[in-house]
Symmetry: C2
Subunit: 201 residues, 2 copies
DNA sequence: GCGGTTGTTGACCGCTCGGTCAAGTGCCCC
DNA sequence: GGGGCACTTGACCGAGCGGTCAACAACCGC
């Protein structure tokens, strides 16, 4: 669907994506009908199909946009930082901040992961994020900053912690992103066992 | 739906739940029709509605059963163990083992979390699991075994790690539960930073 | 102010969905 | 062996779905 859009057209398209995101997140993808979206916006059904080939395509478009945007935020957060541990930390903080701002979209990615029709679209983005993280972890291990554990385990575990804390504390309870990020970083870096560390070097 | 069931009836009900679980996990809850379930089993549609009031009730029943079963497994794993750290570890291992055996059901709980109609049903079970874990964590802190961090952060973070590793390594790649559990436990207890610990006491 | 493109309308279509039910079958207990 | 309950059948229903389209409105560049 590559239509030439005027300013007005681009605005309408945005409006459709934003409202659909909200409805999908609130009510679920399948239970939300195209009719519900267009009547909620007070427009005819044809408008929807002027901008999107299908309901499914709209959903994929929302996913795509979300992934690019998050990745952009993460990249921006770690430019000019050399220390891999610090890069990991900043990546987590950026993710937290972004997730706090895009609650609905985040919910949709969770749903997408559970439906085989949408999962592949997510995978590509997630794989990239994981690969990035693995690079930092590997770097950290080589520099003797991180324990020598299979980097992918670490990367996935960090993703899991971040995601869970986002869901529970940011979205369900509306906690402060910085606060939650502090907790995530502390947990990830230090674990839960007591005992002072004797830093290497 | 509390019907008096004969042996035959109980078997049929099981069959319906098992097959539905498989289809829901494979194809998604909404895209799987009741017609698909009954024809897949080679029975008439009335059979379905003899055992379940609705498609939704069947789904909730699957969820309910899963939660009770997982909780049973967890409880059984930690009986007669006093050390809270060890209890946490065994709980994680039990979850891993259970999740490896119930791949499909696990997928469904993930979906249920994304739909507001089903989320409440999950919450009850999840809250109990969290509360249990918090108890162990608090115990561990009091005994000076664990760092003094807000217990709920810790509990949720552990849940996140476990869930993510289950999804990626157990379900997507078919890794060994014990191996994945080892990684999870190591990560959770020690974090990722290098440096020997000076154990308390 | 005209021509063409972009944007919009909403009745309509075919289809599938979840769910019902009157009729029948098999099985168990007395 | 028969009465009654557990179980099964599948045609059928109304509703709502995603998607189409002919007709029309608004806007823009010339």
């Amino acid at each position: 669907m590559n239509r030439r859009l005027t300013q007005r057209g681009r605005e309408r398209r945005r409006q459709l994506m934003d409202y659909a995101t909200e409805r999908f997140a609130e009510n679920g993808y399948h239970p939300t009908s195209v009719a519900e979206i267009v009547t909620g916006l007070g427009v005819g059904k044809g408008v929807f199909y002027w901008y999107f080939q299908s309901k499914e395509e709209l959903f994929l478009e929302i996913l795509r946009e979300a992934q690019t945007d998050l990745r952009r935020a993460q990249k921006q957060a770690i430019t000019d930082v050399d220390d891999p541990v610090r890069r990991i930390e900043l990546g987590i903080r950026a993710t937290m901040a972004w997730s706090a701002e895009h609650r609905d979209v985040y919910t949709l990615t969770q749903f997408a992961a559970t439906e085989s029709r949408f999962a592949p679209a997510l995978r590509k983005g997630a794989d990239i994020a994981i690969r990035d993280t693995i690079t930092h972890v590997r770097d950290g291990i080589e520099r003797g900053l991180l324990r020598d554990i299979e980097p992918e385990y670490i990367a996935q575990a960090m993703l899991g912690v971040t995601g869970q804390l986002v869901r529970t504390f940011l979205h369900e309870r509306g906690a402060q992103p910085t606060e939650v990020a502090d907790a995530a970083v502390a947990f990830i870096l230090e674990g839960i066992l007591v005992g002072d560390r004797t830093p290497a070097v």
